[in-house]
Amino acid sequence: MDSAGSEVALLTRARAGDEDAFAALVTLHAARLYAALRQFGLDAAEAEDVAQEVFLRAWRGLKRFQGRAQFSTWLYRIAFNEAQRRMSRRPPVPVSAAQSHEDPVTALPQATGLGPEAQALDHEFTAILERALRELPSDWRAAVVLRDIHGLSTEAAAEVVGIRQLSFKSRLHRGRMQLRALLAPYLELDRS
């Protein structure tokens, strides 16, 4: 059975109340969902807590999941909404910090003398990327995360954030352009 087929089978069993089947679904999706929550802007503790909450909500709502969207898209949607809610409850950033004149580009980790191949090691780039993503407005950030890192289609990603595709594309473009400017020194993006 292919992975899509096995997911459908697991969903059917989980809908009937099979916790083992649901746990298998959690295992299939947890790492991606946790990574997305971090990339949306949550810290490690928040992302862990919210990821658990997302799956518990999914478990409670499984019978309502019609299967029109992919299961993963549905999870991303719950995760996105939950992350937004969590970030909106954060205390406001103190004025002095909000008005920091630190240049977001120079605030990123120092680019080392390594060549682009060595710098491109996943863990290193992931850290740089996470910091650069944090510099983006949250709407633009979510668009880039869903479309360019997690590979959702424009249609699915727009559905996750609950906006029309045209608006989503506008956010995506703005996010990409700002991220490009932030990452340019680390990926040698401007080399000819």
């Binding site: 746990a23 959690v26 947890a30 946790y34 890192i149 590979g151 990926l187 993006l189």
Partner: protein
């Protein structure tokens, strides 16, 4: 440019942009760097680095079981 890379432009708009990019060094640089960034983003694993992600399955199982016994 983003729409161009998404393949969302009409044929006419695509040709117009291609023509412009051939003649404009700045846009050529931006388009090419944008493409390189997207290639890099798409090659990043969408999951966390190994060992970093917490064991969410175990936590969810525990919470489901707690709810059952409540």
């Amino acid at each position: 440019m983003s729409a161009y890379l998404e393949g969302d432009l009409t044929e006419r708009a695509r040709h117009r942009l291609q023509r412009h990019v051939r003649e404009c060094a700045e846009c050529q640089r931006v388009l090419s760097s944008l493409q390189r960034m997207l290639d890099r983003l798409r090659s990043v694993s969408a999951t966390s680095p190994a060992g970093e992600a917490p064991d969410i399955t175990a936590a969810v199982r525990r919470r489901l079981s707690e709810r059952r016994t409540e």
